[in-house]
């Protein structure tokens, strides 16, 4: 279903929405039989905050020229974006169950030409920041007031292109560009610090001339505050390093890199949904 249209959602409402959408995520992934679990689950608060509070957008006019641009660089976590877009009214909710199936607009990795509103095609890592910088540059040239946001993974901070883009954005003082890194510490082959250490990530971005903030990525209030703060920094691009727990909400997936790139099987899906709905057994659920 689509969440009721409101001009303002309280934080409590947004947390509940994020949690409810995690249920949809599990169902989508389980029905698709392939896809990524950890990243979509752990970015749910981030997506919710963007679509239900931060973004200036219109789900009925995804190509409205004055909209804020929200790019997803790490395309593999697109099920999270699809879920939030459906709930925001971009497309019918039942379309979520077509994820990764023949003929779907919800491709395994998002495609701009298939689904209006996803802004760019992504999947191959490391090119989202460049595209976001290009959009922000064009907006700056034309004196446009819209903002460009880009959600990145931590793994793609290993891509050289990310740092080419970081240099470009700083050189051109792209204050209208705000990046959010899902710092969940995992990638396919293991923990990021084992595969290819990224730390000190804050200092790296600072050294590249960026304004950097470090937040709890599950705290919607912190994210909104950080975005407002970033908007006030007009002579530098900003990055928000959002620390998250991979697989957030499903205990048997949490913090395990093995869940980066696989979906739950039907039994695991039932268990996962039960966990999400009872907040890990802390409350009772009518759906139990």
């Amino acid at each position: 279903m689509q969440f009721p249209k409101k001009s303002h959602y309280t934080e409590d409402e947004m947390y509940r929405m994020a949690n409810e959408m995690r249920v949809d995520l599990i169902k989508m992934l389980s029905k698709a039989g392939s896809g990524h679990s950890a990243g979509p689950l752990d970015t749910m608060e981030i997506w919710t905050a963007f679509y239900f509070h931060i973004l200036n957008h219109n789900p009925r006019k995804p190509d409205w020229e004055e909209r804020d641009r929200l790019l997803l660089s790490c395309g593999h976590i697109c099920p999270a974006r699809y879920t939030v877009m459906a709930h925001a009214g971009y497309f019918p909710h039942e379309e979520l169950w077509t994820l990764r199936k023949w003929g779907t607009r919800l491709q395994g990795h998002p495609e701009r030409e298939k689904l209006p509103g996803v802004e760019t095609t992504s999947g191959p890592l490391g090119s989202g920041l460049s595209q976001a910088a290009g959009m922000a540059y064009a907006a700056q040239m034309d004196g446009k007031k819209w903002w460009t946001y880009v959600i990145m993974s931590d793994g793609e901070q290993e891509c050289g292109q990310t740092w080419e883009a970081a240099m470009f954005a700083a050189r051109n003082k792209l204050g209208n560009l705000i990046g959010v890194i899902d710092r969940n510490n995992i990638q396919i082959n293991g923990y990021t610090e084992d595969v290819m250490p990224l730390e000190p990530l804050m200092q790296k971005y600072e050294a590249f001339g960026w304004h950097v903030q470090d937040i709890d990525g599950h705290n919607i209030e912190e994210l909104i505050d950080a975005v407002n703060h970033a908007k006030a920094v007009f002579n530098k691009p900003s990055v928000i390093i959002a620390h998250t727990i991979p697989g957030r909400g499903v205990e048997f997936m949490e913090r395990k890199y093995e869940w980066h790139g696989k979906p739950p099987n039907p039994e695991e899906a039932i268990e996962a949904i039960k966990e999400i709905r009872t907040l890990g057994g802390k409350i009772r659920s009518e759906h139990e």
Binding site: R69, T120, P124, A132, A133, G134, Q161, E164, F168
Partner: protein
């Protein structure tokens, strides 16, 4: 003389000593300035090669619409994609060996799959780059770009055709790739020479009432093919030479008609013989009207240092190689 009247080529086109010499890269610079005057959304991005790619000509005219990327071709392709999605018409300039050589995946994902309106300008294509050697002599670029869905591919025969291509592709939506060369080459076309996207233009008509071989050429090999045609004609053979400036989409109608008429085809390009224009023509004819297709091009090897003219000889990219190929194609004809 069987130079096509409709082609409106320069006079004395067969006398190299009388022809003006200009590099096709100048055509990019001149064309993109014109395109910039016609459309304020045209911007030029360059990866630290503004003088040699001639992006500088645009930079001088429109400093606020020139974007410097530094040595970062991957970023350049994707920044351009982002700008295009925000309404700009970006031309990205570097050497073809690096763009599309290095940033092929960024072009595929963020330009072609994205269907972003980016024009990729590959300078220093071919062995005629000269002394810089193999690393800087792009010979695989058309093969790379030709197989990407949505991408159009162009290889101008001279400076004026390069200018016309740039002005034409600025007006159409979608990903395009144009390769051009460093060295000065004969100016054979005029402002009146027709050019339209997707059309192979007949430059040399058969004087005889028969056609023995049809030659499809692009880049500097167009002029070499005209020289070859003159020689073949002396030997009593009927020849047609087409300027295939648009390598993709291939002018299939013209290729098919010419192959049916001639029964033997030669392709000529300053690129690997496989995968470029020759590949396109052979693939198409193999499925539609199989006739011998002999491909003049670089034979599965990398370039080397040397002087441009010397390298064109060493790598078999001059008129005599086209003549040999034509004779071979004719000999293979199914009687």
């Amino acid at each position: 003389m069987p130079v096509s009247k409709a082609a409106k080529l320069v006079e004395n086109v067969l006398d190299k000593s009388k022809l003006e010499m200009k590099p096709t890269r100048d055509g990019f610079g001149l064309g993109v300035v014109e395109a910039g005057k016609a459309d304020p959304n045209v911007v030029v991005l360059c990866a630290d090669l503004s003088e040699s790619t001639r992006a500088q000509m645009f930079q001088k005219e429109f400093p606020d619409r020139y974007v410097e990327l530094g040595v970062a071709e991957q970023n350049m392709a994707s920044v351009a994609a982002g700008m295009a999605l925000a309404g700009k018409v970006p031309f990205i300039a570097s050497y073809a060996a690096f763009s599309p050589g290095r940033n092929n995946e960024q072009i595929r994902t963020t330009i072609s799959i994205n269907n972003a309106n980016v024009k990729i300008m590959g300078a220093h294509a071919g062995v005629s780059v000269g002394p810089d050697g193999a690393t800087h002599q792009a010979l695989e670029d058309m093969a790379l770009m030709r197989v990407q869905p949505r991408m159009k591919v162009f290889a101008p025969c001279d400076v004026w055709e390069a200018k016309k291509i740039v002005m034409a592709i600025a007006k159409i939506y979608g990903p395009c790739y144009m390769r051009f060369a460093r060295d000065k080459t004969p100016v054979l076309t005029t402002a009146e020479t027709p050019f339209s996207i997707g059309k192979a233009q007949l430059f040399w008509e058969s004087k005889a009432d028969k056609v023995d071989v049809a030659i499809f050429a692009c880049g500097p090999l167009v002029h070499e093919s005209l020289l070859a045609a003159a020689e073949l004609e002396k030997a009593g053979l009927g020849v047609e030479v087409y300027d295939s400036a648009t390598v993709k989409p291939l002018d299939e109608k013209t290729v098919l008609a010419a192959a049916k008429k001639a029964g033997a085809v030669v392709t000529a390009e300053e690129h690997q013989a496989k995968g470029g224009l020759g590949g396109a023509v052979a693939e198409f004819l193999g499925e539609n009207h199989p006739v011998p297709v002999i491909k003049v091009g670089v034979q599965d090897r990398f370039g080397e240092s040397g002087e441009p003219a010397e390298l064109m000889m060493k790598f078999g990219l001059v008129a005599k190689n086209v003549v040999e190929a034509a004779k071979k194609a004719i000999a293979l004809k199914i009687k």
